[in-house]
């Protein structure tokens, strides 16, 4: 059926398909086979293949839930005939510290009948006593080439025209999140023009970083009016909202060749603008003001420029 999600269609069907986490996969398979699996903690950024099953992320996960639902589940597991049940707690690092405390003895008391797999983005947010009870597996973001390769395979299968630049842009935008990358690929595939850098940015509702860079450079050179024209252009061409742009300006600031102190002061100004938009400030007025602020820096910054410039590639 054509409306199916590609993330589902191409979801790894067994542990074997999980990309590029070979070691973890083999270790896990072994543990499962031998039936001696300990509690596990899967740590790593989203979309790196940590399992998503079990309790839903949107469920409330305060201490009360842990003391009732989770415990109940663990208790019930003991009734079934399989050696043990596996209970997957997604986003365990979103649990409060108290809730985590409440979890530790439950993990232990039902060890015979059930095993916990805790998934988290940051293992540092899991309290030590729980870490101590788990085998820790760290999932690393997939390397870009692998993701490109994977997207390529899907695109071929789906008969979608792609350019290398297009796929690379998807990978960049998805930031190592495979699921996100596949979703973008699918969305972009509907554009008649095929998948290029341009279509990808349009689909995700972002401007091309170089365009934003340009705009900032105009402002920093003191050419406020040009910067503002570019701003309007971005708003219209990419169909961006004000806060979209502010966030992109924020990312771009790290790549500008300006003294570090100026960079920090710009970040403060950008944060201010972002907050003002959150509070309901007028988009055009506030973004103009931000560009004006940048332009106002230009005179200051031009004088110190030659000496301090640090070229920053990220």
């Amino acid at each position: 059926m054509e409306a199916a999600l590609w993330t589902e269609k191409y979801r790894p069907k067994s542990l074997d398909d999980i990309m590029d986490q070979e070691e973890i996969v083999s270790r896990l398979k072994d543990l499962v086979k031998r039936g001696t699996m300990p509690h596990c903690l899967f740590a790593g950024p989203p979309g790196t293949g940590k399992t998503t099953a079990g309790l839903n992320a949107s469920d409330e996960r305060g201490i009360d839930v842990v003391r009732t639902t989770v415990k109940e589940f663990a208790r019930m597991a003991s009734l079934s005939s399989v050696p043990f049940k596996i209970l997957v707690l997604d986003e365990a690092d979103n649990m409060t510290g108290d809730a985590q405390s409440a979890l530790r003895r439950t993990m232990e008391n039902y060890t015979n009948t059930c095993r916990f797999i805790l998934c988290c983005n940051y293992s540092g947010r899991i309290i030590e006593p729980i870490q101590s009870r788990c085998a820790l597996f760290r999932f690393t973001p997939l390397p870009e080439e692998k993701v490109v390769e994977y997207l390529h395979r899907i695109a071929k299968n789906e008969n979608v025209k792609t350019t290398e630049g297009g796929l690379k842009t998807i990978v960049e935008v998805a930031e190592g999140d495979l699921r996100k990358a596949v979703n973008i690929l699918q969305a972009a595939s509907s554009m008649s023009k095929g998948i290029s850098e341009e279509t990808v940015y349009q689909v995700v509702g972002r401007a091309r970083p170089t365009d934003v860079h340009e705009m900032l450079n105009h402002a920093l050179k003191g050419d406020f009016l040009k910067a503002r024209d570019e701003l309007r252009n971005l708003l219209v061409k990419y169909g961006l909202s004000g806060s979209d742009i502010v966030r992109q300006i924020h990312s771009e600031v790290f790549r500008l060749a300006i003294p570090e102190k100026t960079r920090i002061s710009l970040i403060e100004a950008i944060g201010d603008t972002d907050f003002r938009l959150v509070q309901g400030g007028d988009e055009e007025v506030q973004l103009s003001a931000l560009l004006a602020h940048l332009a106002a820096q230009s005179s200051v910054h031009r004088s110190v420029r030659e000496e301090h410039v640090t070229a920053l590639d990220r």
Binding site: D30, D98, G124, G271, T310
Partner: protein, 411 residues
């Protein structure tokens, strides 16, 4: 057998427990003393980091003496009410033929001041009235929340195992599993897990896998668990960065909760950046970052977090113009303990405020603001007068609890 090794090889008696001989002896002596009647301290607080065997010790002594173990832990709701029922069980005199009992109140530092309200006071009562020995456990005995308990208990510390005790223990297990292991591999596991034997045994199990051998190379796939130590590295990067990008990158190395990291930076900024003008800039960057945390709380706009992070890392780093003057040691943030606790008293204060308000014809908000400090003051200086007021207000219980919590905070 489908048991993890931590279960399979859990010590059953105190003799099987490796290390911590002094502590074990202390607890034995204290238990023996019960034969002559209840000792001056009716409870023991076993404390130490995760994985040193606190619960295991309690279970082992109960088993050795043939006693029933009555256990309450953080997975149970521990309101004062529920704990009072335990008190009943604990204070019942043992009949001639019934078995003895050991009451285990596990993980008392995991008590939640909101859902477990009244717990601390109830535990104190259990300790006072119990006819049976009570064992409490905690990771951090200095947690202000449990200070009243600390005073009522005999404190016994369980320490992490060193290599000398840990490696033979691992070897014993490996022998039973018929696995050959390099000494270096075991040493490496011990070092990574820093004496947390539960982690060490789990890792041992994972690493050995299907083959019956374990070499140093095998341990390479092991990930480090996060220990508080890693924070020093992060702070070092931040304070030594000269560019925004460098400082920002420190965050990638830290899995620490952001507000926690903020406290670490706040605590150490003045000592790391002694120049007054640089310090002014750094502190103002922190103040700015703090404002973003407040805005996030207020608007729930989480995307603002990135500005807070920029400012608290890069903002502080870039404030420096001079290069670092050698190593200055990092301090643990003073406030981390007190912060979460002060949140717990808020609900109680509201309730008391309402009672004051209805008696004195003002709103509960004003009641709290106006009268609570005065009542607190009287409590310190004239307990009898305090009692009269508290009873007249019909608010003695909650007032008692607020006051004991606040004393802890101040200490």
């Amino acid at each position: 057998m489908s048991q993890p090794w931590t279960v399979r090889y859990r010590p059953q008696t105190t003799r099987e427990i490796a290390g911590n001989k002094v502590a074990l002896e202390k607890i034995r002596q204290w238990l023996d003393a019960w034969a002559q009647g209840k000792p001056s301290k009716g409870a023991v607080l076993l404390y130490g980091p995760a994985g040193v065997g606190k619960t295991t010790v309690a279970e082992a002594v109960a088993r050795e003496r043939g006693w029933d173990l009555v256990e309450i832990n953080a997975s149970d709701k521990r309101s004062g009410e529920i704990l009072s029922k335990i008190a009943g069980l604990a204070s019942t005199q043992a009949s001639l033929f019934s078995k003895g009992r050991l009451i285990l109140l596990d993980e008392v530092d995991g008590i939640n001041l909101r859902t477990d309200s009244g717990a601390i006071i109830a535990i104190l009562r259990v300790i006072r009235e119990s006819q049976f020995p009570i064992v409490l456990t905690a990771n951090d005995p200095w947690d202000p929340k449990i200070r009243p308990l600390r005073d009522a208990c005999l404190l016994i510390e369980l320490k992490r195992l060193g290599l000398r005790e840990g490696i033979p223990l691992m070897k014993g297990i490996l022998a039973k599993e018929s696995v050959n292991a390099d000494e270096e591999a075991l040493r490496s596991i011990m070092e990574r897990d820093r004496g947390d034997m539960r982690s060490a045994i789990t890792d041992l199990q994972i690493l050995t896998g299907p083959k019956k051998s374990l070499t140093l190379e095998d341990t390479a796939m092991l990930s480090n668990r996060d220990r508080t130590e890693s924070i020093f590295e992060v702070l070092r990067i931040i304070f030594n960065s000269r560019t925004v990008a460098q400082a920002r990158r420190a965050l990638d190395k830290s899995d620490l909760d952001h507000e926690m990291l903020f406290q670490w930076i706040l605590e150490n900024t003045p000592s790391q950046i002694p120049s007054r003008h640089e310090l002014e800039r750094a502190m103002s960057a922190l103040a700015e970052a703090d404002l973003y945390f407040a805005r996030i709380r207020k608007t729930q706009s989480w995307h603002l977090l990135s500005y807070a992070l920029d400012l608290m890392t890069a903002g502080v780093a870039v404030a420096k113009e001079t290069s670092p003057r050698g190593w200055v040691s990092m301090k643990f943030p003073q406030r981390i303990g007190s912060m979460s606790r002060s949140r717990g008293t808020r609900e109680l204060r509201k309730g008391v405020g309402a009672m004051i308000g209805s008696k004195s014809h003002i709103s509960s908000r004003r009641g709290t603001k106006l009268y609570l400090p005065m009542i607190q003051f009287i409590h310190q200086h004239d307990p009898e007068k305090y009692r009269q007021i508290a009873e007249w207000l019909d608010a003695k219980e909650p007032l008692d609890e607020i006051l004991s919590l606040e004393n802890d905070l101040a200490a």
